[in-house]
Amino acid sequence: MLRPDQIVQELTEFNRKVAAGIGALGQIGDIDVGASEKDPVYQEDKVILYRFRSRTADPAKVPLLIVYALVNRPYMADLQEDRSMIRGLLDQGLDVYLIDWGYPDGADRYLDLDDYLNGYLRRCVDFICREHKLPSLNLLGICQGGTFSLCFSAMHPDKVLNLVTMVTPVDFHTPDNVLGRWVRDLDVDLMVDTLGNVPGELLNWSFLSLKPFRLTGQKYIDMADIFEDPVKLKNFLRMEKWIFDSPDQAGEAYRQFITWFYQENRLVAGGLRIGDHAVDLRRITMPLFNVYATEDHLVPPAASIALEQHVGTKDYTTMAFKGGHIGIYVSGRAQKDIPRGVADWLKARMP
């Protein structure tokens, strides 16, 4: 039973930690992110294609291209040495490339999904294939990047040898998709016509509003417990940096993504066309590995699991990771399970 003297002690201790923590935060210095060595190998406008330096003597002959979402920054996949999916993939002997979409500004507001998928992404794929003298590569899409990878694979199936999707929304109208419900009555045309590019802060507001008490309150109270541990504090701040490092969204691409995917659910309902290409998931006949998180509050499992019934491939594998949308990259278990799971699956399907 909580006694007044306990409350006094607890709050005193809490205040002591916070006071010490403010001093510690002032001393902590820069928050570095990105653990693995990489080189820019291709650049176009604000898009940069990186190739990670191999960590094994004889990396796989078919490279793996990681396609991240436009929302947030791709360094989540390589946050720090002991929390890096990319490092894990490199250690498994894969040759890893990553697209960094950059930070769009006002001059990019007319970039649409055709520009991103049939433009930047296809040219990155072509570049890698040319460099490796290969007709196709392995593609790994994360979150919205997974949706993009599905569209790309459906539009250019000859360029994708194997496809991996992680925490990827496919059916945007499952009953538990709160984000999907929230945008259904949104006047996206008015928003994009008004704002041009959609501010990253606005998207952050949506994401944090999914669990407001926990994500904007409790976690900062919990932070008091790690103020005196510089390693844990830095880990926390890295994550914090990533969460709020949200690029603005190119207006036309945002308009199309919200309207076609979230509001009209065209990826599974049909009728999706990007540029000159029809997007038909049945054209995805290459091997497909779909990883979803069982506790994902941003992309509910049902939204990902739906993929199986819409694709044309006969080689479909699914992996359920017990964790959340972020835990799939940074949790201790993810470091062991995800890179090995992806690499084993890929190696069994590479020449």
Partner: protein, 374 residues
């Protein structure tokens, strides 16, 4: 701010005062730096209040925090303030009775009163999203509307917090007659040479009213979260106490509150009413901003300055040109010209290499010999 005068007369008053002394010791290092920096001295805080103490301290410390760090320090202090407020209420509740700490029933009655008090404070603060009491309770009660007002202040014409700036108007809308009066005024026919600009101002006013109304509706839907969360907290805590399992720490109580808050919020945030009101609020803000832009563009145009419309046109044209360049490059590559050029370049290099190693023609040799003889 809580009134703790009645509760400090109990047997725990000494502990409270002692705690305050510890508390001030803990801050002393940073506070000393504030004093050394020449920051203005404040009046001593009321030692009977955590939150007043924190408030005092945060004002003292502000001048020594570098501006680039102020945002996160403010964030931490804000969290601390909310947490302290919960602890303060709990402390008042459990230290009020003579047998506090001895009897589970009276203990639970005290805690229940504290929860009710929290709910009352939140309910009275909720409708006025811009006022101080709401913001002070934001981390416990005000989310996500508080967060929304911060986000939107960045994309509004009005400096600072928009909802604060419009607070008076918001309050005015609560009277039944004024909105109709304002709407009537805003739809008055316009006359004369400036009729178009009058219409623009009217439209802006109407957009403002619509946005305020949408925010109020959203706030109304959200206020249900607080009531439901408090209800859940009482239920869950009662169940625990019934099983002889009382709270052992403020953090435990806080964590349970967060769980209840999330549960209550999850029930409401997927509802049609919430979804519609949130979308309506966003749409209303966009309509308001669109109208602001249109009026600013008119003013810029009159000053012969570049407008948003012109910039958009330029960006669109640049993008169209960029697409044409991409297509031409692709066509060029597809036609094989690039390969032919590369092949020609390779032949040129090869030819140059052959020339440099081959013997010079006879005429060149003769000319070289004549030069040597001279």
């Amino acid at each position: 701010m809580s009134d703790s005068s009645s509760s400090t007369s109990g047997p725990w008053a000494d502990a409270w005062m002692q705690m305050q002394r510890h508390y001030w010791d803990a801050w002393s290092d940073l506070t000393k730096r504030a004093a050394d920096s020449g920051a203005p001295k404040k009046a001593a805080p009321d030692a009977t209040s955590w939150t007043q103490g924190l408030d005092y301290w945060s004002k003292m410390i502000a001048p020594v925090i570098p501006s680039e760090s102020r945002a996160w320090v403010d964030k931490i202090l804000e969290m601390n303030q909310s947490y302290a407020r919960m602890g303060e209420l709990l402390w008042q509740a459990v230290s009020a009775g003579p047998d506090t700490g001895q009897n589970l029933t009276s203990w639970w009655e005290g805690v229940t009163r504290a929860v009710q008090e929290m709910q009352k404070k939140a309910s009275s603060a909720a409708p006025a999203a811009g006022n101080e009491s709401w913001n002070g309770f934001a981390t416990l009660w005000g989310l996500p509307l508080d967060h929304w007002s911060r986000v939107t202040s960045a994309c509004s014409l009005f400096p600072g917090d928009m909802s604060k700036a419009l607070h008076d108007l918001n309050a005015a809308r609560r009277s039944d007659a004024l909105p109709d009066f304002l709407s009537g005024w805003l739809s008055t026919p316009t006359l004369g040479y400036t009729r178009e600009s009058q219409e623009e101002v009217q439209r802006l006013g109407q957009c403002l009213l619509d946005y305020q109304k949408a925010m109020q509706d959203y706030s109304g839907v959200l206020s249900g979260v607080v009531a439901r969360a408090a209800e859940l907290l009482r239920e869950k805590a009662t169940e625990r106490v019934g099983q002889g399992d009382a709270f052992e720490s403020v953090r435990e109580c806080y964590n349970l509150w967060v769980d209840c808050g999330e549960e209550a919020y999850a029930e409401i945030c997927a509802s049609d009413a919430f979804t519609r009101s949130q979308a309506a609020m966003t749409n209303a803000l966009m309509a308001l901003k669109r109208q602001e832009q249109s009026m600013i563009d008119e003013a810029l145009s009159a000053l012969n300055m570049p407008t948003r419309r012109e910039l958009d046109t330029s960006h669109r044209r640049v993008h169209q040109l960029q697409r044409r360049v991409w297509k031409l490059e692709e066509a060029l590559n597809a036609s094989g010209i690039a390969e032919l050029r590369a092949e020609m370049e390779a032949l040129r290099t090869e030819l140059a290499a052959v020339r440099s190693t081959a013997p010079a023609p006879a005429s060149t040799r003769r000319a070289a010999k004549a030069k040597d003889e001279t």
